[in-house]
């Protein structure tokens, strides 16, 4: 094997996100979206530059199968962030009940079950509940609906919007689906090969894209706006 040049997965990227708003990150596989996500929550350390998050942060991963511990019950999984913060037991139980209701899961039915007993959409709601229970200021959502059916996807997107309004949450929403990103985001950054090719307010970027790459991505979106009026 020859010596390999280190790869710059993310290269000189700068952006800010306002409190209570959603920053959408789009780009094709391998463009560096998830690397940014991991740097924001501190799972990766940037080799140069800095990530500043004011307040608490957490992440929801794409794969609701891989991100929940298969040996823990739902209430144990959701309680973990609070246990780690030494919250009292009775308060934890109250919080679990509350948060499960928010993601429309029944506490009595769910609490002692294991992740494998749930469908993909339910698991993603469990993953979201686990993050929401400690009300982080910033939530990174890394392709949170990409593996779900469109009807389940719609439910999760609505839920994320409702919770954002209610708790003034700040989202970094990552997806390769430009339609979903437009629906969710206030500001959108388009990434290619580790760099931003364009960052603009959502309506501006979708209405009059500046870079050729954004135009190309928009052109291949399988859209059917004319289909339903």
């Amino acid at each position: 094997m020859g010596k390999k040049e280190p790869v710059k997965a993310v290269d000189d990227v700068s952006f800010t996100v306002q409190k209570g708003k959603t920053f959408g990150l789009v780009g094709e596989s391998g463009c560096g979206k998830s690397t940014i996500a991991k740097m924001i929550v501190g799972m990766l350390v940037p080799s140069a530059g800095r990530v500043t998050v004011i307040g608490d942060k957490d992440i929801v991963f794409q794969d609701p199968y891989g991100s929940l511990n298969p040996r823990m019950t739902i209430s144990q999984i959701i309680a973990e962030p609070l246990v780690a913060r030494s919250v009292k037991k009775d308060k934890i139980e109250r919080s679990i009940k509350e948060i499960l209701a928010r993601v429309r899961l029944d506490y009595g039915i769910c609490k002692d079950k294991y992740p494998h007993q749930f469908s993909g959409g339910q698991r993603q709601r469990i993953a979201i509940a686990r993050v929401l229970i400690h009300k982080p200021d910033v939530i990174v959502l890394d392709e949170p609906v990409s593996s779900l059916d469109v009807s389940i996807q719609a439910g999760i997107l609505n839920l994320l919007k409702d919770l954002q309004e209610e708790f003034n949450l700040t989202y970094l929403f990552i997806s390769h689906d430009l339609r979903v990103v437009e629906f969710m985001s206030d500001v959108v950054g388009v990434m290619k090969n580790g760099k931003f090719v364009e960052v603009a307010p959502s309506d501006e970027l979708y209405r009059s894209p500046k870079s050729d790459y954004t135009k190309m991505l928009l052109a291949v979106v399988p859209d059917f706006s004319e289909m339903v009026k």
Partner: protein, 269 residues
């Protein structure tokens, strides 16, 4: 759809049960040469199992309670295992959703394609090489992929290689189970265009299984919408997508965000 053209396969009142649970109920549809028929539905709607039954590849616990699948004047359920083997991969073949697991990780691409061909046809070594090059070039890959292993290919390239493998024996019917779900949109578009080109070139009949109506809109000629094991609506693409008579179909289409969407919330069925 051209009604004058003879159907190539007909599924009639197919009903399948798995451990006493009916998962496919009274499903009927037809496939035509050169036509793409989409089978659309959410997870668990029975679409994959319906596709698998065309190859009689459903799980052991599944029992066909009723109905038949007519192909070349024979009911697929009446064929012997030997006869069925001659059909699979040869006259009817299937591309699965996950291009990672559908390929053998320890065998190079060329060997995998030739294995499929050798199962049904005899070729001399030099002719085989020629055939392999022809096939990978048909799916717009360069001939070097023949000596590569699946892990060396991107998702889009793997899906192309799988397509090459599945059309290697010139099948009459190709079943595609969510072939582009795992791919980026720009790659998805390329693969869909490739599928469209191949079916036109070879007058191939395609059963396209998906949950994504926007993909259906791009590629299908006719559409069957499945829910809980049943076909709730079927017809030409135009009638099902643009003038649906069924609430379930309309809901499924409406809950997808669209470019320039001004809705604050999406309808949930």
């Amino acid at each position: 759809m051209n009604p004058m053209q003879d159907k190539i396969l007909e599924v009639k009142n197919l009903t399948l049960t798995v451990r006493n649970k009916t998962v496919v109920r009274d499903v009927s549809f037809e496939l035509f040469p050169g036509q793409i028929t989409a089978l659309v539905g959410e997870s668990g709607s029975g679409k994959t199992l319906t596709g698998l039954s065309l190859l009689r590849l459903f799980p052991n616990e599944a029992i066909c309670k009723n109905g038949c699948i007519m192909f070349a004047n024979r009911n697929i359920f009446d064929l012997s295992s030997e006869e069925m083997r001659k059909i699979r991969g040869n006259r009817i073949s299937m591309v699965f959703q996950e291009p990672f697991t559908a390929m053998n990780p320890v065998m190079c691409v060329g060997r995998q394609i030739s294995e499929t061909i050798e199962a049904h046809q005899k070729y001399l070594r030099k002719d085989m090489l020629k055939r392999l090059v022809e096939l990978v070039e048909l799916v717009c890959l360069s001939r070097d992929v023949l000596s590569k292993y699946p892990h060396e290919l991107s998702g889009g390239m793997r899906q192309r290689a799988l397509l090459a493998m599945m059309i290697a024996c010139n099948p009459e019917i190709l079943i595609l189970d969510e072939p582009t779900t795992a791919l980026d949109v720009s790659v998805q578009k390329e693969i869909l265009e490739l599928i469209d080109t191949i079916r036109k070139q070879r007058n191939l009949s395609v059963l396209f299984i998906t949950h994504d109506f926007s993909v259906v809109n791009m590629i299908a000629d006719s559409v069957c919408v499945m829910k809980n094991g049943k076909i709730v609506e079927k017809g030409t693409k135009k009638s099902v997508l643009y003038n649906s008579q069924h609430e379930y179909t309309r809901n499924l289409i409406a809950c997808i965000p669209r470019l320039g969407d001004t809705r604050r919330r999406l309808p949930v069925g």
